[in-house]
């Protein structure tokens, strides 16, 4: 046993129908305690109706160094957006 209390990432779904959203992290020995800690730390004022806790080391993140090759192509493809196409003003409902 390492003696370090594991880290968990906390996700909360708010009452307005949005997806679970990352709000922060907590340390806890196991999942049940992580849920309890997340409830105490992140939902003291009606912030949500559902909590997910995920072991931090289970998350695989993209590398910031790969930012350009991953995301640049998306910005150069303007034809993916509706505003790329010229439609006369008098055409309605489009």
């Amino acid at each position: 046993m390492s003696g370090l209390t594991p880290l968990w990432e906390v996700f909360i779904r708010t009452r307005n129908g949005m997806a679970h959203r990352h709000v922060g992290s907590v340390h806890a020995a196991d999942a049940a305690l992580a849920l309890q800690a997340a409830r105490d730390v992140y939902t003291r004022r009606g912030e949500g109706l559902s909590i997910w806790v995920v072991p931090s080391n289970a998350i695989t993140a993209s590398d910031p160094a790969d930012k350009d090759e991953l995301f640049e192509p998306a910005t150069s493809k303007a034809y993916r957006h509706p505003s790329f196409y010229d439609i006369p003003d008098d055409i309605e409902n489009m």
């Binding site: 046993m1 003696g3 370090l4 209390t5 880290l7 709000v23 922060g24 992290s25 907590v26 340390h27 806890a28 020995a29 196991d30 305690l33 105490d40 730390v41 003291r44 004022r45 993140a61 590398d63 910031p64």
Partner: protein
């Protein structure tokens, strides 16, 4: 977890690391720096020190107020104080998490706090002698914290800025419940009003000192401003606090304990007398009225809770091992 590729570093012809220039360009463009992004070592160190100090202040700050939870005069006040102290614990946790994203472990931060290597706000080394001190902490100490913390919501380091946004949302309740208490005392019996004034007399100057040394003396200010960790200087924030707070005291008939205090008609700012920086240095370096008590209380909490943390971990390990066992036929 942040790892820095120190090998095969391509230095520019002048010997500087080109990533530093790109980092500064991102800061200048108001981009947020995230945990895995490149950052100069000095930026990381400054942030770890500042965020850990801030987290420690939230945690130690629970002690002077916790002192009065069982003696709150009404159930309404007791519920508010409990909720406030619980918030402060939460603030400490958000901030420790932000510091951890920079590669510093929670355990190391806790150790540095109890063995005196880490600092926390000098204000929490003053005692809470009467119930009025609890109102005064909410009004002045949380009020000063808000002044400090609002610009930190735009700090260049993403996790710190996000923690500050959560914290600032909660601080307003702290200040208002404190001012309401003081307002009630100030409108009460002569003894109650005297108690409020006595608390203001003791907490005013320490609150003013919370903003840290004057700009000319501040060792970390310039770099922190360039890195957009800090947005205003200590003196600018201190002045904002004074201008906001003096009229609040006057409105409820309390006197600011400063014979030199005067309104500068030209600038519209309240001018204060000289600050006793010797006292500030003394309290910060460990010689305040309650430094030893605060650390002893923190140390006892950490030591007395150790068996609980160990047991919880052992229990989690055992359950994991049991779940991995093949099920007997």
């Amino acid at each position: 977890m942040y790892t820095q590729a120190l090998n095969n570093l391509d230095l520019a012809p002048d010997g500087t690391d080109p990533r530093e220039a790109r980092f500064m360009a991102r800061i200048d463009a108001e981009e947020r720096i995230e945990p895995n992004d490149f950052m100069p070592e000095a930026y990381r160190k400054t942030l770890v020190r500042q965020i850990a100090q801030h987290a420690h202040s939230e945690i130690i700050g629970m002690l002077p107020e916790g002192n009065w939870i069982t003696r709150a005069p009404t159930l309404r006040r007791k519920a508010a104080l409990l909720a406030k102290v619980q918030d402060e614990g939460g603030h400490g946790l958000y901030l420790y998490c932000a510091a951890e994203t920079l590669g510093k472990s929670r355990e190391a931060m806790m150790d540095e706090l109890v063995d005196g290597r880490a600092k926390y706000s000098s204000i929490f080394n003053y005692p809470t002698l009467t119930w009025a001190d609890i109102g005064m902490i909410g009004w002045l100490v949380d009020g000063a914290a808000i002044m400090n913390q609002i610009p930190l919501c735009r700090c260049s380091y993403g996790p710190y800025a996000r923690a500050m946004i959560r914290i600032c949302k909660e601080e307003s309740f702290h200040q208002r419940q404190g001012y309401e208490q003081i307002m009630t005392l100030a409108a009460g019996s002569p003894e109650q009003k005297a108690m409020a004034q006595d608390a203001l007399d003791r907490w005013w100057w320490p609150s003013i000192m919370m903003f840290g040394p004057s700009d000319s003396e501040s060792v970390h200010s310039e770099k922190s401003m360039a890195w957009k960790i800090k947005r205003f200087t200590n003196d600018e924030l201190r002045q904002k606090f004074i201008d906001a707070t003096v009229p609040q005291a006057h409105r409820i008939g309390l006197t600011i304990p400063d014979p030199d205090l005067r309104l500068d008609e030209e600038t519209g700012h309240w001018q204060i007398g000289p600050i006793d920086w010797e006292e500030f240095k003394r309290v910060l370096s460990g010689d305040g009225p309650c430094n030893a008590d605060r650390i002893a209380a923190r140390k006892a909490a950490q030591e007395n809770g150790a068996w609980v943390r160990e047991a919880a971990l052992a229990h989690a390990e055992k359950r994991k091992a049991r779940a991995a066992e093949p099920i007997a036929a």
